[in-house]
């Protein structure tokens, strides 16, 4: 909201020589905007690359709703709930941040302190939620069978009918072998015996077609390994590319959140010390605020393209 009016006439040369501010923003704020522009292009590149891989492997790409369905205390089977919670936390921390910036414009130090503190707490909650989600993704849920060509086969049972098509639910390796939910490393022969002893269980191939139990022998003949959890080379949910993009994009975003929390803490301490009070303005709060909103903005897109679509 610059309402300064320049009455003197200045030449174009002076204007673009840096003497005046053609964009009406201070150097620091302008550079934060330029940084955000370049960072936005980086994230666009990541998400577009994700789109490339997804469309390339469209017939065998994992269903995100099936991968991220864990909620603390409730267990699996609740898609979207947890990530929706994370999204709300980040949006809310964005609100407290903008309230801190607003209070800064009015030089209300105590209000800035309160809202910045809430923003830092929000960032902390988001980061711990992300750590929890990574933990579950890495640990794995049901486990799967990997074939020689690298594709993933899940064990499923019919669950009902939706839109005139049968719906299946995943059967975990633990349930299949009747073990007590403790992490058991299955060997292939062990798994094959457990599968043969459970006639109701069917096999879902990587391209989502479900084979009847009787074709189990033919599938097991091509089996390579038992896969549990996900890392950069193996992924029980489907293609390893899915896990790679998950680690890379949410990891890079999480690193931004982490950086944002550190910047917020530094500015928070400076507000407490009265640095900006002495300076006469709270523009530094505004600058880290821009960065923090950008982190929220990126999450809005990650949320849509990774979890919704």
């Amino acid at each position: 909201m610059q309402t300064t009016t320049y009455t003197e006439v200045i030449s174009t040369r002076a204007l673009w020589g840096g003497g005046r501010r053609p964009l009406g923003a201070s150097y620091g704020k302008l550079m934060m905007w330029i940084f955000i522009l370049s960072d936005a292009l980086t994230f666009s590149g990541f998400l577009a690359a994700y789109g490339f891989s997804r469309f390339k492997f469209i017939h065998s790409w994992p269903e995100p709703g099936e991968v991220f369905s864990h909620v603390p205390l409730l267990g699996g089977g609740y898609p979207m709930i947890y990530v929706a919670f994370m999204t709300f936390v980040l949006i809310f921390s964005s609100v407290t941040m903008v309230l801190a910036v607003h209070a800064g414009h009015q030089m209300r130090k105590n209000t800035v302190v309160i809202y910045l503190f809430l923003t830092i707490i929000g960032g902390g909650i988001f980061l711990s939620s992300q750590a929890w989600e990574w933990y579950h993704f890495i640990k794995g849920e049901a486990g799967a069978l990997q074939l020689n060509d690298g594709s993933i086969v899940h064990f499923v049972k019919p669950k009902g009918v939706r839109n005139d098509e049968p719906v299946y639910e995943k059967i975990s390796l633990d349930a299949l072998s009747g073990s007590s939910g403790r992490a058991v490393t299955h060997t292939l022969p062990e798994l094959k015996r457990a599968f043969e002893a459970s006639p109701g269980v069917q096999l879902r191939m990587a391209n989502q077609t479900v084979l009847p139990h009787s074709q189990g022998d033919a599938v097991f003949a091509h089996a390579k390994a038992v896969v549990r959890g996900a890392n950069l080379v193996k992924n029980e949910y489907g293609l390893p590319q899915f896990a790679d993009f998950f680690f890379f994009i949410t990891g890079f975003h999480g690193f931004h959140v982490f950086t944002g929390v550190i910047l917020n803490v530094i500015v928070f301490l400076n507000v407490l010390l009265g640095t900006y009070e002495g300076r006469g303005h709270y523009e530094m709060v505004e600058k880290v605020g821009l960065y923090w909103h950008f982190v929220d903005l990126v999450w809005v897109f990650v949320f849509t393209f990774f979890y919704l679509i």
């Binding site: 909201m1 610059q2 053609p22 964009l23 009406g24 923003a25 302008l30 905007w33 330029i34 955000i36 522009l37 936005a40 292009l41 666009s44 590149g45 577009a48 690359a49 789109g51 490339f52 891989s53 997804r54 469309f55 390339k56 492997f57 469209i58 017939h59 065998s60 709703g65 898609p79 979207m80 709930i81 929706a84 999204t87 709300f88 949006i91 809310f92 964005s94 609100v95 941040m97 903008v98 309230l99 910036v101 607003h102 414009h105 839109n163 605020g289 821009l290 909103h293 950008f294 929220d296 903005l297 809005v300 897109f301 949320f303 849509t304 979890y307 919704l308 679509i309």
Partner: protein, 107 residues
Amino acid sequence: MVDKGTAAIWKVFIVLSIVTLAEVLLGIYRPEFLTVEIFSGLISLLDLTFILLTLYKAYCIVWFFMHMKHEYSNLRLTITLPLYILVPYLIFILLVESTYVRDILKL
């Protein structure tokens, strides 16, 4: 003490919350009438809804939380114009090539 600026911030927060809630509900229930594919199978109506709602949320965050609305139009264009040009180009080229690679490799 709620001044005009603060009230506006909370208003934007309510809008963002409602849009997010709508997205989450659509994501959980995936209503059948929205799963139809449009533009000759390019995208489903549901996914298009998600993308439009996301762009609306992005607009709210940048324009009101980042105060882009109150910046000079010089600054607004400096930051947004490269994105308007480069991002659609990037998406176009990568998605077109991805289907080409899929067809040629018969994946």
